[in-house]
Symmetry: C2
Amino acid sequence: MPKHPPEPAPRSEAARYEYAGLDRLLHERARLSLLTSLAAHPQGLVFNDLKRLCGLTDGNLSRHLALLQSAGLVEIRKDFHRQRPRTTCRITPAGRGRFAAYLEELERVVRDSAAAVRLPRRALPSTS
Amino acid sequence: MPKHPPEPAPRSEAARYEYAGLDRLLHERARLSLLTSLAAHPQGLVFNDLKRLCGLTDGNLSRHLALLQSAGLVEIRKDFHRQRPRTTCRITPAGRGRFAAYLEELERVVRDSAAAVRLPRRALPSTS
């Protein structure tokens, strides 16, 4: 009999739950929070409103904004409003695109997980 | 006129996008992947099957499993099968409960984000 190499599992099954599209830059909780806020406010949010919406401290907000800005996902504009300095943050078109792609994978996670947590225990054949 | 303290914003609006329920232990990508796999296979998965489903290396899988085990979310059983050592991983009832709670918050993120990314640009009033 001819020898066959072991059959690889089809890719879709092989790493069924890998979720490679869960981009670490976007998946981190504070940045996910920031991007959702900014996507919901396409004309931008001033620093203090963004801080409040995301429940972040000044330092954390600055740090995560800097990361998103250096990746081109967010733009930050500084100007004056009623003679006081004002910082406005906006999601860029690239940021919106990358967030939409991330969101597709996140929706897949939610579908898979929701199906899984609704399974009755011992519903599946044992691996023993 | 009596002085009033500044009115706090209602909690729901104050940190509308904070997502405090995104438990860091469960939100990390590899652990989210592990928990989804294990929730979908309530009778357990052997180490190599879990590794394949999650697309993880031996080292990463061991490290993340140890974290989940020490938090009581996963249990790990070692025995012999066909005279070879075998490691089987299962999600615990506590793990399933905590994963379900996390998932509720994740579903909220997806709803908010999906609504936000579908917004046309300049749909909302400017903050200027």
